[in-house]
Every structure is written in structure tokens, then in C-alpha cells.
């Protein structure tokens, strides 16, 4: 049935697979980034294609509407500048109090903007690739967020790009806290393959008093994410394991299905 050539092909493919699967994780990570680098020349083309509808829409937008938008943004900018100066004064005051009490002073977040260039082609993982890497100061486990809320963490880093594992992925667990009087603590775990923007908040205490709409933020425990990053809002809750603990569904603040640009937190200060 098998000819000599077919035996060779079967043996070669099996050997390559076994070799690749038995490589140490560090070598695999480097190899993956190396092979993924072959796709680098296409990143620019993809961005151009994605920008086409936006540019087309800009071209047909009336000039009056654009001027009105600019005016709105200028007003918004002035309002934010005033708020920022107030916040800076509050931060200085907070630092002075911290110095008086002897607490560690908080540093302002150092954020870097990144574009999402690729999504995981497999349906059973939730990862994206961003256009920042080693050369930009990105390292593994740095938190990634948008202005709406938490997105995930950096899982592997190449020279010019990095892989980010989203909070919907099974390998990204986040310790989170409900913003309620009891400050209930739980762990964010994936919802399901089709449940976009919904995750589970598990291992809450059995008598947790949860209400729909309550905010969920990172707790700062776990050693990766600093405290206070918005995660989402409680949708509903249920008892699990015969009332031993409570589970809640959380609607994510960040829209993970439409990620274009994200912020990488370069100096996560942990509690």
C-alpha cells in the first residue's frame, strides 16, 4: 500500500511535529515570533485596507460638520485640561499625605499606545498581536487596557510586536473586586466561546450581595494588574457548588471584538 516515498513523508512529518512539540517553551516562543515575523511586510497593507472605509467616509463628510466636530473637541479638551490640573493638585496633596503617614508614593501610569495588527486565527483562543515589542520597552505580563477598561496582558514579546492574551482567554485570570460596601473579591474567568464581552466572576463569597450594574475593578492582587482598572459591570449572579460560593456574569467595559488601539501599561505599580 505504502510506497517508499510515502513512508519517508509520513516519518518526516511525524518527526518534525514531535521535535517541535518537545522544544522548551522559551525556544518555542522565539521560534513563533521568528516565523510570525514573516508576516511583518503585510501589516502595513492590512492597516491601509482597514483605513480605506474611514478615509472614504472622511472624504464625503461635509466641511461644516467637520468644523463643528473640531469645535466640540476643543471645548472637551479645555474641560479635560482643567480637570487634569485639578487631578494633579489632588495627586500632589495625596503624595504629601502619603509622605506624612510613611506610605509608598504612587507613580503616574506610563502608557504607550499600540495598534492591534492581528487576531488569533484559532477559534479556541482569544489573543491579539500588537505593534510594540522589546524595542519599545514592553515585557511579558504588562497590563493592556483601553480608555474603557482592562483588555488583557502581554503574554510574549518579540522585537517589534507582542502577543496579548485577552481577559476572555482561559489562560488570563484576573483578581477582581466588586465596587460595593463589602468589596467582594473574585476571579475573572472566561464566559464561553460565543459569549462576546461577557465573562464570569467566580469564587465570590457565598453571601455576596451583588446587584446588576455594580462596577467590577481589578483588585491589585495576583501580581500583574494594578488595583482600580475598570473591568466591567455585574449582569446577574447565581450560587455555585451548593451555595459554597457565588458566581456572577460581568459585561466587559472594553469592547474586545472591535479592538483597534490599546494602551500598554509600562510601569504597573502593584500594591
Amino acid at each position: 500500500m505504502f510506497k517508499h516515498k510515502q513512508y519517508l513523508a509520513l516519518g518526516a512529518v511525524t518527526l518534525v511535529t514531535v521535535l517541535l512539540l518537545s522544544l522548551p517553551s522559551r525556544a518555542v516562543s522565539h521560534l513563533k515570533l521568528g516565523i510570525g515575523g514573516l508576516f511583518l511586510p503585510f501589516f502595513g497593507a492590512v492597516n491601509s485596507v482597514r483605513q480605506l472605509p474611514v478615509r472614504a467616509a472622511d472624504m464625503i463628510l461635509p466641511r461644516g460638520e467637520l468644523l463643528q466636530e473640531i469645535e466640540t473637541f476643543q471645548r472637551e479638551n479645555q474641560r479635560l485640561e482643567i480637570q487634569q490640573s485639578q487631578a494633579a493638585a489632588t495627586a500632589r496633596e495625596n503624595d504629601q499625605f502619603r509622605a506624612l503617614v510613611g506610605w509608598q508614593q504612587q507613580q503616574p501610569w506610563k502608557l504607550k499606545l499600540a495598534s492591534v495588527v492581528l487576531r488569533d486565527p484559532a477559534n479556541w483562543w482569544r489573543t491579539v498581536q500588537i505593534d510594540l515589542g522589546n524595542r519599545d520597552g514592553v515585557t511579558t505580563n504588562m497590563p493592556v487596557l483601553t480608555s474603557d477598561g482592562l483588555v488583557g496582558r502581554v503574554s510574549s514579546v518579540g522585537y517589534t510586536r507582542s502577543q496579548v492574551v485577552l481577559i476572555e482567554d482561559p489562560s488570563c485570570r484576573v483578581s477582581a473586586r466588586v465596587v460595593n460596601p463589602a468589596h467582594d473579591l473574585g476571579v475573572i474567568s472566561p464566559g464561553g466561546p460565543m459569549e462576546n464581552s461577557l465573562v464570569d466572576l467566580a469564587y465570590l463569597s457565598g453571601n455576596a450581595n451583588l446587584k446588576p450594574g455594580q462596577e467590577v475593578v481589578t483588585s491589585g492582587e495576583g501580581g500583574i494588574f494594578p488595583a482600580g482598572i475598570p473591568v466591567g459591570q455585574i449582569v446577574d449572579s447565581r450560587q455555585a457548588e451548593f451555595g459554597l460560593y457565588t458566581e456572577a456574569r460581568v459585561k466587559l467595559s472594553a469592547d474586545l471584538g472591535a479592538l483597534d488601539q490599546v494602551w500598554v501599561l509600562l510601569n504597573p505599580q502593584l500594591n
Partner: protein, 185 residues
């Protein structure tokens, strides 16, 4: 045409993997990304040799895993497991029929992700699975089934445009020419 065909198939696999990672329209519309590698593997298994099938499995699997969170190499064996038996028994398959192409594309698109998940689970990984995965699987099967005849037509067109065509036989033979009219000495 053999080397050119192999190069074209590998280039198509490269672009297919990149397209799956760069454009997520099927994911937004149907909740799942369609994988084109099984459909390409069907074409390669039915029309090329075992070397091309092995190269497509190895390189296509590597490219796919490099852009995904899969362990590197986990997609190679499922692709090869689909392509190799079809390549061995292709004389028994009516490969020119679109219906056969659709059925083979659907079967390959069903088998490859299932084998991948099986390998991942046996390797101790925890992929994102649930009841919704069944829907995603169906979308992948339907996408692969629809893509296979399209890939066939595309590669047939390429082969027609770039390959050498067989020389057509002329029915005219000078030695059999009937000469009409009376022969004058």
C-alpha cells in the same frame, strides 16, 4: 507545473493564514473564523504528490500556530492526517465533481479542528470550549465546504494560465489525403 503548483499552494496557504488573522469579518458575522487550510489540503491531496501534501501540512501548520496561541506544531499532524490518506486513495475519488469537493472540504474542515482540540487537550492545554464551540465547528465546516470548489476553480484557472497545455492532435493526416480528380500522366 509541479513545482509551480507546489509554490502556488504554499503561497495560498501563507496568504490564507494571514487573512484569517488579519480580517475577522466571518468572526463578526457568524461568531467563528473559517479555516481555509483544510480546503487547500484537499486540493493538494487530490492533485499533487505526497511531498506537496507534507510541505503544506508542515508549513501551513507552522504559520497557523505562529500567529495563534496554539503550541507550535500542533496543527501539523491534523492537516497531514487529512491529506495523507486522501492522497493515497485519490484514484477512487471522483475529484472533478463539485459535490465530491464539497463533501471532502466539509469532512476535512470538521476533522482538522477536532483533531487539533484533541491534541491540545491531551497535551494538558485548556482551550476555550463550550456549547458555542459546536456552532463555531458548524461554521468552520460550512466555510470549508464552500471554499473547496472555489479553491479548485481558482487553481484550475492558474494551471490553465501558467502551465503548459497538452498539444491537441490534428485530425488531418497527409498520407490519408483523398485526392479528387483524375490523375493525369
Amino acid at each position: 507545473m509541479n513545482i509551480l503548483q507546489t509554490i502556488l499552494i504554499l503561497a495560498a496557504a501563507f496568504l490564507a493564514v494571514f487573512g484569517e488573522a488579519a480580517f475577522s469579518l466571518p468572526r463578526q458575522l457568524f461568531g467563528a473564523q473559517v479555516d481555509l487550510l483544510p480546503a487547500l489540503m484537499i486540493y493538494a491531496a487530490l492533485n499533487t504528490n505526497v511531498v506537496t501534501v507534507s510541505l503544506l501540512a508542515a508549513l501551513g501548520g507552522l504559520w497557523f500556530d505562529a500567529l495563534s496561541a496554539n503550541p507550535l506544531g500542533v496543527s501539523i499532524l491534523p492537516l497531514f492526517a487529512v491529506g495523507f490518506p486522501i492522497c493515497l486513495r485519490r484514484d477512487l475519488i471522483l475529484r472533478e465533481l463539485p459535490f465530491a469537493q464539497v463533501v471532502l472540504g466539509a469532512a476535512a474542515s470538521a476533522a482538522v479542528p477536532a483533531l487539533c482540540i484533541l491534541l491540545l487537550l491531551s497535551g494538558g492545554q485548556q482551550p476555550l470550549l463550550g456549547w458555542g464551540s459546536l456552532w463555531q465547528w458548524l461554521v468552520m465546516i460550512a466555510g470549508g465546504a464552500a471554499a473547496t470548489p472555489v479553491i479548485y476553480a481558482l487553481f484550475d484557472w492558474c494551471q490553465h494560465a501558467l502551465g503548459y497545455q497538452p498539444q491537441t492532435e490534428n485530425s488531418f493526416r497527409p498520407d490519408r489525403e483523398i485526392r479528387r480528380g483524375r490523375k493525369l500522366n
